[in-house]
Each structure stands twice: as C-alpha cells, then as structure tokens.
C-alpha cells in the first residue's frame, strides 16, 4: 500500500503539489490523469525519492519512504520512463538485465542474458533485437525494451510514466494491453501517469485526477464517466470549454 498525505512540493515560486492525498492499495492499478504540467510526474518522482518533497508524508506499507534502506526500497520498484530512458551505451539485453548484472541481484552473465531474452520475448521482441543498441530500435520497440527492463527483476510495484506518449494508436493499444497483462500476471501494484484516456480505460482499476496541485477526484474507473465532477468530465471529453483553462 502506497499512501501520500498532504504532500507539498515547490520549484521556486511554482507551487506544484499543494497537499496531495492518495492511497494505492496493494495489487491494484492506479492511473493518475491530469493536464500537462500539473505535477503528475512530480508525484511519481517524490514517491521514488528522485525529488524530495517539501512537506507531507509518503509511506510504503506504513514505512516513511525517506527513511530506511534505500537499496532495499528501490529493489521493490520497476519503472517505465516516458522516453524509455534506455542506456545508449549498452546493448538492449544489458539494458533489460541491468539489475541482474550488478548489485545485490547480480547473476552470472549467461543467466542474466537468458532472463533478459525471456523478458524481451514477453513484451513481443525477438532475441535478434537483444544485441542491438537502443538507437537502432523504433520508438515502440524502445518502449517495449523499457517495459522489459521494468519487469526484469520481478518488482512488486511498477510505475509507468506516460507509457503511450509518442506512439501510434495501434502501438499504444499493444503497450496498454501488455501493461495490463503483466500487472495482472505478476500481481504487482501499478501506478501509471497518462493523459491518454484509452490507456486509462485499458490499464486502470482506480483513477485519480490531479488538478491545481491536489487530487481533484479519485475513484474506480467504472464510476469515472458519471462522476459529476465538471473538471473530470471536461478532461474525459477533451472539451476546450469548462472549468479547466485551455491555456495554462
């Protein structure tokens, strides 16, 4: 269970998070939606400790995430970054098996490679792609490699940062389906950030909308369409008219 209580974060004068309260029960898939620049990625990075929040409390299974053994904490997470964030200097399989080639989860070279190829196969890539470099792959393939890397060490919690941004609708559908399958298959807790409503419907158990630095609405994906919240309704319909200003 991940819980955020009254989390604040500012960058200079820009008060991005103004008291975020959110809980993500174990084994569920939470999708955070919201316009560009509303601080969705900041929430995610605060949980991981990539950005230090100014005040408030973030806990994982009741433990403050800013305290305790950081390596053990991070070992529970996998993350798919928006742009893939693959290491250009390493071939695809070494990207996927990164955790297995060093640190506490280190395994023999051949075994790590075998696991990486298996994970690549799981996301629909052939072993021939394993020895290529990330720059030689298409955007969709890079996303899949990022996904394979995120799940390679079988984490309990997986974060997906805008998993379908920049992909064509069919590839977006493929990635959404893969994410859903993998999360269900692994029984992992998932947290996804997106503004793609197709992704929301495909991936989410629960949805939270971030607006004005706070969680504006949260609930199960099934009740999203009749929430009665004008902000959420405008976001779902993509209308330029409504309480959310089109120019931010």
């Amino acid at each position: 269970m991940i819980e955020l209580s009254d989390v604040h974060k500012s960058f200079g004068d820009n008060h991005v998070l103004r008291g975020v309260n959110l809980s993500i029960p174990k084994g569920t898939s939470m999708v955070i939606i919201g316009g560009s620049g509303t601080g969705k990625s900041v929430v995610l990075k605060c949980i991981l400790g990539l950005i230090q929040h100014d005040s408030g409390l973030i806990t994982l299974d009741g433990q403050d995430v800013t305290k305790g053994d950081r390596d053990a904490f991070l070992a529970r997470f996998g993350m798919l970054f928006q742009g893939g964030a693959l290491f250009d200097s390493l071939p695809v399989w070494q990207n996927v098996a990164f955790r297995l080639l060093r640190g506490s989860l280190k395994r023999p070279w051949a075994e790590a490679r075998e696991i990486a190829i298996e994970k690549l196969r799981r996301v629909g890539l052939t072993p021939e792609q394993a020895d290529k470099y990330p720059a030689e792959l298409s955007g969709g393939m890079q996303k899949r490699v990022g996904l394979a890397r995120a799940i390679c060490a079988e984490p309990e919690i997986i974060f997906f940062d805008e998993p379908t941004t920049g992909l064509d609708p069919i590839m977006s559908g493929v990635i959404n389906e893969l994410i859903r399958e993998i999360v269900v298959e692994m029984g992992a807790t998932a947290m996804t950030i997106t503004h793609d409503m197709t992704s929301v419907r495909a991936i989410a158990d629960n949805v939270a909308m971030l607006h004005g630095g706070k969680i504006r609405w949260t609930g199960p994906v099934s009740s999203m369409d009749n929430s009665g919240d004008p902000y959420l309704e405008q976001f779902i319909t993509g209308s330029a008219e409504g309480p959310i200003e089109a120019v931010r």
Partner: protein, 261 residues
C-alpha cells in the same frame, strides 16, 4: 549613489557566486573520492573509462607533443642565437616540455577531448532521464558514472603526460638533429644529464591533478546540466572553460610549490 554602488554590488554578487560554485565543485570532488573508495565497484565501467580517457587520447597527445617539441627546438635555437646560446636547445626543450608544456598541453587537450565528451554524455543522460533510471535500478550515479571516469583520469593522465614529455623531447631531438645540426648522441646525453628527478615528479603530479580537474569538471557540469539541447550545450561549454582555467591556475600553484626557491 546607485551609480557608484551598483558596479560594486555586481562585483560582490559575482565574487560570491564564483566562491559558492568553487565550494560546490569541491564538495562534489570530495563526494566523488568517497564513492570511489567505498563499494560497490564497477570494474567494467572503470575499464571503459580507462580506454576512453587514456588509450584513445594517445594520438592527440602524441601529435600535440611532437609538434610542440619541434617548434620549441626551433624557437630556442633562433632565440638563443641572439646571445650565442644555440647549444642549450636539448636542455631547454627537456625542461620546457617536462616541467611545463607537457603537463599543461596534455591537460588542455584532455579538457578539450575528455571533459567535453564526459559533460555532453552525462548531460544527455540527465536530460533523457537515464540518470533517474539508474537510480531506480538501485545504481548510484556517482559510483557508476562519476567515480570510474575520475579514477580513470587520475590514473591515465599522468601516464599520458609522461608519454607526451617523451614524444615532445623526441620532436625537439628530431628537429635538433635533422635541421639544426646537433649530434644525436650528445643531444640525448645533454637531455638526460640535465633533467632532475623533481622535474619528472612535478610533471606526473601535475598530470594527476589536471586529470582529476578535467574529469571532475566534465562530471559536475554534466550532472548539473539544464534541460534540453541548450542545457547540454551549456554544460559542455561551461565544463571545458572551467577545466581549462582551473588547469592553468593549478599549474601556476603547483609550479610555485615545486620550484619556488
């Protein structure tokens, strides 16, 4: 009043900013060495950095040194001729290359070649979230990216300076023997007799210090890069400028430490 005060205020602001930056760089360097000393270690990364910083810099260092040694021999010969001191070419080439030009030119070439590449690579990694990805994969960027590069520079730049010194002297020797009519055996004998152990030690120590400066500047500017292509460009430019100036300043200080009477 403000006409008088505002330039002073600007001077004060800039001085404070420069000192604060120097402090941040010093803390960054100390943190780097603390990470180098503590496990986990990444031998593969160290090996790659040794190749990048050391081995692949050899051609540029060799070419810089040979041309500089040759030019130095010509300059000393023609300058020395003004007071009948043409014969000191071997001695002055040796002392000039080993004490001063070898370390400084190698340091500056490393700043141009290695600092810029480290800064651009790490800054691009930062901009494309690869540094964040490293952290989420339980890998400390200071240990994985910074430590190996600084360690490689500390080890290889003194060796490059040593090689540069020898090639520079060879450049002088070639010009001296081929163009200026020196006897080959006498040229070598004069060079060897004139150089003292302190000259060589100072050269290698300077190399180590310049290597660390070059790598730390590349890593510091890369890790603190701004966003986008502009951020990468600024980080690269800033790192090379800072490395070159600090190398020249450190050279002045170290020359004072080794050779002030």
């Amino acid at each position: 009043m403000s006409l008088v005060l505002s330039p002073l205020a600007a001077l004060g602001r800039n001085t404070l900013a420069a000192l604060a930056m120097l402090g941040r760089i010093t803390l960054f360097a100390l943190s780097t060495f603390s990470h180098i000393l503590r496990p986990p270690y990444y031998p593969r990364e160290v090996f790659n950095a040794l190749m990048q910083v050391g081995w692949l810099s050899l051609p540029v260092v060799g070419l810089t040194a040979i041309f500089t040694g040759g030019a130095l021999a010509l300059q000393i010969y023609s300058g020395g001729a003004r007071f009948n001191a043409e014969a000191v070419v071997p001695q002055i080439v040796a002392i000039g290359m080993v004490r001063e030009l070898g370390p400084v030119l190698v340091g500056l070439m490393i700043a141009a070649r290695v600092t810029s590449s480290i800064a651009a690579e790490i800054a691009t990694m930062k901009v494309t979230e690869q540094i964040d990805a490293l952290v989420t994969l339980s890998t400390h960027p200071m240990k994985y990216l910074v430590g190996p590069r600084v360690l490689a520079a500390l080890v290889t730049v003194p060796l490059l300076v040593g090689v540069g010194d020898i090639i520079g002297i060879l450049g002088g020797y070639t010009v001296g023997v081929q163009n200026l009519g020196f006897n080959a055996a006498t040229y070598i004998q004069n060079t060897v007799d004139f150089l003292e152990p302190l000259d060589i030690v100072s050269s290698l120590v300077k190399g180590a210090v310049f290597g660390v400066i070059a790598a730390v500047m590349g890593c510091y500017y890369g890790m603190n890069s701004g966003r986008g292509a502009q951020g990468v460009g600024r980080a690269t430019k800033g790192s090379v400028q800072a490395a070159a100036i600090l190398i020249l300043a450190a050279n002045f200080l170290l020359t004072g430490v080794f050779f002030s009477v």
